[in-house]
């Protein structure tokens, strides 16, 4: 199945929790924020929020800016 991850198509084998998706991507969950179908996912919900086919996911972090 395919999700849209940060604007690009991304294949996942089966529906994944946000925690599992971040682990697959080797992303430290403490330093990012995740948006799932336009709604911010609270860190406490990373284990329970499930990402499935056709979903849109944005993973952001802090970068240099003014």
């Amino acid at each position: 199945m395919t999700i849209k991850l940060n604007g690009d198509p991304h294949e996942i084998p089966q529906p994944l929790s946000v925690s599992a998706l971040l682990a697959d991507l080797s992303i430290d969950p403490r330093r990012v924020a995740v948006e799932h179908n336009l709604t911010v996912v609270k860190k406490a919900a990373y284990d329970s929020a499930m990402v499935g086919d056709g979903d849109e996911v944005e993973i952001v972090n802090f970068v240099g800016g003014g």
């Binding site: 991850l5 690009d8 330093r31 924020a33 948006e35 993973i59 802090f62 970068v63 800016g65 003014g66």
Partner: protein
């Protein structure tokens, strides 16, 4: 010299600095230390999925420095609100430097979108610091909408032109019931001093430090300029006059 207080939070420094465009993270860290700033701005961007990158946060001592996420490069209230919500989740604070940009060339704010986004985010419990035009009426409207401070531009972002409309900054300070932070346009230390002498409660800058030949030295210059400008403002400058007034006694001159 008194501290800067915004929304009940106390900052020891009246200089707020950015984290963008430094030659390296190490130089940024050194510049932050030299600036004495205890609040820095950060941008919220997509994680690079394809490769591991060095984290900005490894170079910011968040025990000492408060992170202020921005909504830079957002052109609609909706995008700015979305970015603010993500920034809150990433940073675990409800503060946001709110930018709604209206023009690519000047990066001037879109007042309409800015006001809309301010109202929505204040309603959601955010501490909103909007980057705005140097317009006293707009600043009043933003404060009435619940902005915790107003951040009028001194000149276009990254332009280094200095304070283009000092009279407006002075009027904004006289009228505003919230702190006034001059945000953007500073080029060198004297510009920061001018902003503070006009009564600004603080100055926010990025490019002036990050883009200097020696960012660490410029950061220290800015620290001193902000302190000097604040002291001069509090000290009360003399009135401007067109003609000279002698500083030395006019009597007792030799040969008179």
């Amino acid at each position: 010299m008194s501290d800067l207080v915004i929304a009940g939070r106390t900052f020891r420094s009246r200089l707020i600095v950015g984290t963008g465009k430094y030659p390296s993270h190490a130089i940024m860290k050194a510049a932050h230390e030299a600036s004495g700033a205890d609040m820095v701005t950060v941008a919220v961007r997509r994680v690079d999925i394809s490769r591991q990158t060095e984290s900005l946060l490894d170079y910011i001592d968040t025990a000492k420095i408060f992170l202020l996420p921005n909504t830079a490069a957002c052109y609609t209230a909706e995008d700015a609100i979305r970015t603010a919500r993500l920034g809150r989740e990433a940073g675990m604070s409800n503060w946001v430097k709110l930018e709604v940009i209206g023009d690519e060339q000047t990066l001037f704010p879109d007042n309409e979108g800015l006001l809309t986004a301010t109202r929505v985010l204040v309603e959601e419990g955010f501490i909103v610091l909007p980057y705005t035009n140097d317009d006293p009426v707009m600043c009043r409207k933003l404060a009435e909408a619940g902005a915790a401070a107003v951040m009028p531009l001194g000149a276009p972002i990254g332009s280094g032109l200095g304070i283009q409309n000092p009279n407006n900054i002075r009027i904004i300070r006289e009228q505003a019931k919230v702190p006034v932070i001059v945000d953007a346009g500073v080029g060198t230390a004297s510009d920061a001093a001018v902003a503070m002498e006009l009564g600004a409660d603080g100055v926010l800058m990025n490019t002036a430090i990050a883009g200097a030949t020696d960012p660490v030295a410029m950061a220290r210059a800015m620290k001193l300029a902000v302190e000097a400008g604040r002291l001069a403002y509090l000290a009360g400058r003399i009135p401007r006059k067109s003609y000279a007034t002698a500083s030395s006694p006019l009597h007792g001159v030799v040969g008179s």
